[in-house]
Amino acid sequence: MLPSALLRRPGLGRLVRQVRAYAEAAPAQAPAAGPGQMSFTFASPTQVFFNGANVRQVDVPTQTGAFGILAAHVPTLQVLRPGLVVVHAEDGTTSKYFVSSGSVTVNADSSVQLLAEEAVTLDMLDLGAAKANLEKAQSELLGAADEECCPPGGGVSCHLHHCSAPLLCPCSVCCRDRCS
């Protein structure tokens, strides 16, 4: 027990007499829109497309495959690959965005955060430029196949469905700098 001399100090006596109680749970976070609803946030570093919106379904392209997220989806963390994100609104309209990379988080309260490195609507993409870049990347891939620093078959040029934004071959972009 505390020595009586210590207890005579006014502040400490008050402290000892305080009633101990359990801490209260933190207040629920705002995004939970309601049971059975998804709170969808979709943003890139420069632009916010959806902020806590209530949508029906979101299709995302991930490193391990593309899947659609409905409300009450299993919580998951995924990393994105270049591809189309399709947002199905409550009224049935869809909006499409092309995403270069990023991550998607589905939480237990059905909130979904889709954070993209670069995200644009499809009308901002130039199909001709995409095709030209793809051919350039593929020819660089063929030309760089002999470099020692790259494992055989390590460079892959990945092009997507109708958007066709090419992924540059790692051999041509990075390895040449490292090997030179």
Binding site: P82, V120, M124, N133, C150
Partner: protein
């Protein structure tokens, strides 16, 4: 089963930067100026030489 860039020993940040650059290259010209602002490539390093 690692992604092809992981097999080479490079990380997602590298992959993400390359993807973002490739996508910026395919934007229409009127949107390109906007994208270049955010790409972070506009940093200029000036070395101050000792007199």
């Amino acid at each position: 089963m690692a992604a092809y860039w992981q097999q080479i020993g490079l990380n997602y940040l590298w992959y993400s930067q390359i993807c973002a650059k490739a996508m910026r290259d395919t934007l229409k010209t009127e949107f390109k100026a906007n994208a270049e602002k955010t790409s972070g490539s506009s940093i200029k390093v000036v070395k101050v030489e000792k007199e």
